[in-house]
């Protein structure tokens, strides 16, 4: 009797084993996960073909929340589209606003005052903090840690949303930025409160990490699961933490240096293995870098106006032309492609949604894994259906 038992094969064979007559010995089961499923983060469906518990085929099905934002954009004025961008990725309305404002500013040749640039950076980094925190909460919940981590995350998120509410009037649908600046200035009391929240955020992250980063269950469920090789990540146009976890150093804050990001001293965390754990870790480290950026912004923010005096809110008609603008939103590269024909409405209004394109490789990540892993893999992509389906 040999003491050594064979290790299970690492790469699962996708084809079912055949008997002598060419018939499959196991039956494949087709499961429709969603559109109403607690793990799909909204109305999203995956058509999964299972061999036992292994995923053999997985096709995502979109469109349950489709309302054709791009068509709305063609039939509404430039400014009128600003509140609609809040509803794309409703976790990160501030960065959505920024991406759109940045594109229109490029199109119309508007400048942004110094103070408004700092406020934009502060808002974007606060957004990044709360988005990544919530995402980790959700995805730990997908692994079965019901409730507690998500409530911790939501407790912290609420502090940031309170800041957003006090400055823009809305927790999530902020509609805060305008072409050539921001809608209202922030006062010193707000800045002091925001500074306090940011100072305490590091302590919260320490606490969060103490529970999660070396957690045995989290390590077992995430390490080596849902791996994306570097070449595939680049070819599949992945962006954001998904891309950087696969080892590609590409952050638009460093590459494009839009806004005033060239002034800040921060690092871009890059993963090594491209698995779920690296995606988790990249997000945690990104939050730490965001805190660094925020501290510098609070230190350096100058006084001054927050709107370009040349910008026109009413009767805004940019000259004909086309422009593509993009920012590093928490989920990846959020881009807007606008074609103007000189009328008050854009001729073409295109949104490049990061989480929609990040889902391109969902099947590649899930093949050969258990169905329970597919849930965690989807959680690690960080999708918001408002943006995926538009």
């Amino acid at each position: 009797m040999s003491a050594v038992t064979a290790m299970p094969p690492k790469n699962y064979e996708v084809k079912p084993k055949l008997d002598d007559h060419g018939q499959g010995m196991c039956e494949l089961l087709e499961v429709s996960m969603g559109p109403h499923h607690p793990s799909t983060h909204g109305v999203f469906r995956m058509d999964v073909v299972l061999d036992g518990e292994k995923v053999v085929k997985l096709k995502p099905v979109f469109g349950y929340l489709h309302r054709n934002h791009e068509k709305i954009g063609e039939n509404i004025s430039y400014l009128g589209m600003m509140p609609y961008t809040d509803r794309l990725d409703y976790f990160c309305s501030m960065t959505n606003n920024w991406a759109y404002a940045l594109t229109v500013e490029k199109l119309a040749g508007l400048a942004v005052p110094e103070r408004a640039e700092y406020i934009r950076v502060i808002m974007a980094e606060l957004t990044r903090l709360q988005n990544h925190t919530c995402l980790i909460g959700f995805f730990v919940q997908d692994m079965g840690a019901l409730g507690t981590p998500m409530m911790y995350a939501f407790r912290e998120r609420e502090k940031i949303l309170d800041l957003f509410e006090s400055v823009s009037g809305a927790r999530m649908m902020c509609n805060y930025m305008r072409f050539g600046g921001v809608r209202v200035d922030v006062n010193d009391a707000w800045l002091a409160q925001a500074h306090k929240v940011v100072n305490e955020y590091g302590l919260f992250l320490d606490e969060f990490e103490a529970f999660l980063t070396a957690n045995e269950i989290l390590l077992a469920r995430t390490q080596g699961v849902g791996v994306i090789p570097k070449a595939l990540a680049v070819s599949a146009s992945l962006t954001g933490p998904m891309l950087r976890a696969s080892g590609v150093n590409y952050d638009l804050r460093k590459v494009d240096k839009y806004g005033i990001y060239s002034r800040f001293d921060f690092k871009v965390p890059v993963g090594d293995h491209g698995d779920i754990y690296d995606r988790y870790m990249v997000r945690v480290l990104e939050m730490r870098e965001s805190i660094k950026i925020l501290q510098q912004a609070f230190r350096d923010i100058p006084a001054g106006p927050v709107m370009d005096p040349k910008s026109k809110l009413r009767g805004f008609r940019p000259k004909a032309g086309e422009v593509y603008g993009r920012v590093e939103s928490p989920k990846g590269e959020l881009g807007f492609y606008l074609i103007s024909d000189g009328t008050p409405n854009p001729y073409r209004f295109r949104i490049r949604p990061p989480s929609f394109i990040n889902l391109t490789v969902l099947e590649d990540m899930c093949l050969g894994h258990n169905i329970s892993d597919a849930v965690v893999i989807l959680g690690s992509v960080d999708i918001v259906l408002g943006e995926v389906d538009r």
């Binding site: 979109f62 469109g63 489709h66 054709n68 791009e70 068509k71 490029k106 199109l107 040749g109 595939l232 680049v234 070819s235 599949a236 146009s237 992945l238 962006t239 590609v248 590409y250 590459v255 940019p318 000259k319 004909a320 032309g321 086309e322 422009v323 593509y324 993009r326 590269e333 881009g335 492609y337 074609i339 103007s340 073409r348 295109r350 490049r352 929609f356 394109i357 889902l359 391109t360 490789v361 389906d389 538009r390």
Partner: protein, 214 residues
């Protein structure tokens, strides 16, 4: 444009590499925007392969795929014509009307993640908007175009030859028409109201002419 080469240099190199390709620089009236490179559909795939694999460009990242609908448009142009009016030869301004045939356009924004430059904007145009809406799919080159090309097919009706899985993506299977086209008419989703008035009344009369009393 952040690339080391200008678009003219890229075009010149492409012209030597592909003598048969018809390339054109499309100007952009917006000063901050990028000009784009229009390629004919037949050599689109070869040109895109060149852009991806060329050592100086290495455009490995296809960021954005956009469909655009350009319906048939009447262009008016004022030209001066010499005419004999009342026996005297005069220079008269005349409006000349030409019809630009409609087409669908797909725009690719290409960047390089390795060399961190871009974008090079690549445009492909279909023959027309009805029967000749075929274009080569660039999904075999950039996987990231897969869902985006499906979306362009879904909303505009561009048929991508060589796409591995060309199905509708945002609209449901069996949906007729292409909703992002400029001439698309949305279905009349009239809901019944017991006491219709104003526009609702007009709609109601259209739907239930026999039942609705003014």
């Amino acid at each position: 444009m952040f690339t080391v080469e200008t678009l003219e240099q890229i075009k010149a190199r492409l012209e030597t590499a592909f003598p048969a390709a018809r390339l054109e620089l499309v100007p952009n009236e917006c000063p901050a925007g990028d000009r784009s490179l229009l390629v004919d559909a037949a050599s689109g795939f070869a040109v895109a392969t060149f852009l991806r694999d060329d050592a100086a460009l290495k455009l490995d990242f296809c960021s954005n795929v956009t469909g655009i609908d350009w319906p048939e448009k009447e262009l008016t142009e004022k030209i001066k014509v010499r005419q004999v009016v009342d026996g005297v030869e005069k220079e008269v301004e005349e409006v000349k009307k030409t019809v630009r045939p409609g087409f669908l356009e797909v725009v690719y924004h290409l960047y390089s993640m390795e060399l961190k430059h871009g974008p090079v904007v690549l445009r492909l145009r279909t023959q027309d908007r009805t029967s000749g809406t075929h274009l080569p799919s660039l999904t075999p080159l950039w996987r990231g175009a897969e869902f985006q090309e499906r979306e362009v097919y879904d909303l505009y009706g561009v048929l991508f030859d060589g796409h591995p899985d060309l199905r509708r993506i945002l609209m449901w299977d069996g949906f007729a028409g292409f909703p992002m086209r400029r001439d698309y008419i949305a279905p009349d989703d009239f809901e019944y109201e017991p006491t219709p008035h104003d526009e609702v009344l007009a709609e109601a009369k259209k739907h239930y002419p026999a039942e609705v009393k003014p």
